[in-house]
Symmetry: C2
Subunit: 245 residues, 2 copies
DNA sequence: CGCTATCTTGATATGAATCAATAGCTGTGG
DNA sequence: CCACAGCTATTGATTCATATCAAGATAGCG
């Protein structure tokens, strides 16, 4: 019954009713495939869709006038894309697939209906949306007050923490299909400097990186360097209203 | 009837029903005063409250191990504080008053009840929450890919845009009760460097700053420097469910 | 098998941090 | 009402992290 990866993710947080599950599953019809590099939508363009990631790696990015890019967020299986721009009728960032990705798209109005039918899901979605704020706060802290190596370590750990929801908590080998250029645009450095930092981190036995695989060899040290605070905790359901059906 | 600054803010976006207004107004009882510098709560501590800012200036911040500080967000009249940590049972950042502030505090469960009674408000609150994500995306872009002067310009413009919701769109003189040290901790620089940049910006006729007043003298130039994208737009109500009572 | 993206390395330049010192301002207590 | 304490702001000299410029080396891919 639960073949929806989004439902699976929600069930890690909360015990959904059959009716809630059925209505969420309704959103996951006809997955669409996106090729690596392909855009879901572009910054500034009209956008009315929300996507559930079935599978794959995606990212949200924004360009500056000089052509510099800032990568804002990565998205993995079971996550929602498009909610960040939900307050506006246009996309505030460009979203594209990194690796080939499978997505289920639905119009925003479906989310409105879901909120109306299931008040408890509206609080759940609100909580999950606020987790994105926390992630961004953590990124901002890293960007503003730590050096390049710490920012890279932070990025790796943040990605690992989110990928492990899917792979289990022990996996140290992660599929990370990012180029050094992508890493640079995510942490606000140049690709050249990222190259030197990665080499340094490898020689220090912190990580191993080959092709699209990243291995975290000394995670305690990485956590120390990044001053990483784990966000892997149960979410607080105490304030949620009861499920209505 | 509408003496609630929070309702006033919401009414700028959406035409609330009397019942919605009444239930929101219920949240704004007995404002509490916080002195400059006083903490609402501290990172890591148990926290179950949401606050509506009646009046004043507040900020959210986080400390690093070496004592460095990153300021994450400022809060103004009519805004909600505490939502960012709503997914956890503890505060993920420290929040304190910058200037003397008046707040109305209420437990999270009240928000859950409100969502259950008024589905349309849950979509509205969700949208407003996602605006915070957009703000953070913009900050991240500035931090990762622009230099100190652009980051300062961006901060000033972002503050101005949000203060002008209260003061009207033409005001160029803003009350900004931040020290150079605060500015530095907000944009990820040292106070010394901020001092030099402010002097430079003053001599270029971009701003004037005296004590707690900031004047934006050449806003077009500031926008160019910061590559500032205005976020002042009506929010998209198209996907909201109808009001139920 | 060559093309193009990716990665690597060295030399130099620069924005911002650090170190150090001083001056101004604000509130407080005697 | 003055003097002192403690933030806040200012300025100069030096250092450091990271960017920029330049050139190859690899490696996946059609």
């Amino acid at each position: 019954m639960v073949d929806s990866c989004f439902v699976k993710r929600l069930l890690q947080h909360i015990d959904l009713t059959a009716s809630e599950i059925a209505d969420i599953a309704e959103l996951e019809r006809e997955p669409v495939t996106f090729a690596p590099g392909q855009k879901l939508w572009e910054e500034g363009h009209k956008a009315d869709y929300i996507c559930i990631v079935q599978d794959g790696w995606l990212m949200s990015e924004t360009l500056l006038e000089g052509g510099e890019r800032q990568i804002l967020r990565f998205y993995f299986s079971g996550e929602l894309i498009g909610t960040a721009s939900i307050a506006y009728d246009h996309a505030t960032t460009t979203v594209r697939a990194v690796d080939e990705a499978q997505l289920c798209m639905f119009p925003r109005a479906r989310l409105g209906e879901l909120f109306a039918r299931h008040p408890r899901l509206s609080t759940l979605f609100y909580s999950l949306g606020m987790l994105e704020v926390i992630d961004l706060n953590d990124r901002l802290r890293a960007m503003g007050r730590t050096d390049g190596k710490a920012r890279l370590a932070h990025l790796f750990l943040a990605i690992a923490e989110r990928l492990r929801v899917l792979t289990g908590p022990e996996s140290t080998k992660l599929h990370v299909p990012l180029t050094q250029n992508d890493l640079a645009d995510a942490v606000g450095l140049t690709a050249i400097h990222v190259n030197r930092l990665l080499k340094e981190m490898s020689s220090e036995g912190l990580i191993r990186r080959h092709r699209r695989e990243l291995e975290l060899l000394d995670e305690p040290a990485l956590r120390r360097i990044a001053q990483f605070r784990s966000r892997r905790q149960n979410i607080d359901l105490g304030w949620f209203p009861p499920a209505q059906n």
